[in-house]
Amino acid sequence: MNNSYIKIDTLSKSFGFKKVLDGINLQFEKGDFVTLFGPNGAGKTTLIRILSTILKSDEGNITISDYDIKKNVSDIRKIIGLLSHENFLYQNLTVTENLIFFAKLYNVKNSEESISYKLNKIGIYSKRNELIRNLSSGMKQRVSIVRSLVHDPEIIFLDEPFVGLDIEGSEYLLELFSEFKKENKTALVTTHDLRLGLHECTKVVVINKGQIRFNEIIENVDVNSFESTYKSLIA
């Protein structure tokens, strides 16, 4: 038995000859709030896609909550959520229809009530019967936040969640982050916005060219000088 909640062991992935991830080793505990920094093309998104089971790795092992990603993938899928800069919503369905549909995929019973509650919280309850195609991109992203939480996942992966989100929406998201921490949920956020990224996190990881360059708990990170540290890491 391994003790870590999420354990990534010598993970590698190539697209053609391009090695996107090269021997990644990471371990996170339950309740960790990890921020993953890195420039474009560093492999952040690929790592998130592999962790959220939509992409298969070439080499290496991943276990999440003691489930092996190769053997018990559907057990993992039940407890993870994914929020990306793409919103994964159907254009011609209303907000509520979309959310009820995704809730049904997770066999969530009586989802309407909790959906209304979550919509209310994120400030778009009044838009619940609008078609997605008629919403602004900031609004769509807020709906997508509710979509990723529709089954109350234990672990949430957020791939550039602030992209396309308005200021008000970003504040809601940061509020949500602190709530995650209270509920002892685990989150992994990728971003290249240093200010937003360091806001609630407990762990900081920097990835560049498919390799881990920095992996520290927040107590060991000097937040004020982190920008120059980061720049030297990705140079």
Partner: protein, 223 residues
Amino acid sequence: MNTLAAVLWKDIINELRTKEIVLSMAAFSVVLVVIFNFSLVINRDNIGHLVPSFLWISIIFVGTLGLSRTFAIEKENSAITGILISPIDRSMLYFAKVLSNLLYVLIVQFLLLFLFLFMFNINLTGNILMLIIVMVLGAVGFSTLGTLFSTMAINTKLRELLLPVILFPVIIPVIINAVKATSLIFSGGGYTEIKPFLNILIAFDIIFLVTSALVYEFVVEES
């Protein structure tokens, strides 16, 4: 099973709201039948052979048009990714997509049948129940591989262009047997005459429903 119903329900709501798939299929059907009516010289001798052939050719053409669209909806906003991160079984997703494709094909198929009967002044005298069975079996066969290959085609460089190229040669057994059975029914053939064709259609439907469900994950998931 719940998840299958959910995906199907979502597709139907989407289609009821936009009507884009069935309407464009229906419009294409009308155009095709009118063109055939202008270009074919039909008389009592060849009607039994020509009409079933052209009916099934039309079904395949119009059906292919719809197939490309049903999966394109999933690609908008990458909505399919939202489905793929959920614990839904990939074969369930496949069956749901087969059912929604089948629904569109069936609607247009019977519209086409009606158009052919109407435009070519045919009095349908054969066994109508038998005809319905043949048409449904043919539509199922078309939808099984159609769903699999449309998912595949949309993820390639050629997109919709590749679909007829890969789909048509493989569904030749469906076309041959459906055309033969339909023309036998038109000429008043009974169950015993049609049975061999029906058997092959049933075999085709079952074999490819099972095989496609097994391999669907390799086509729908990214690599």
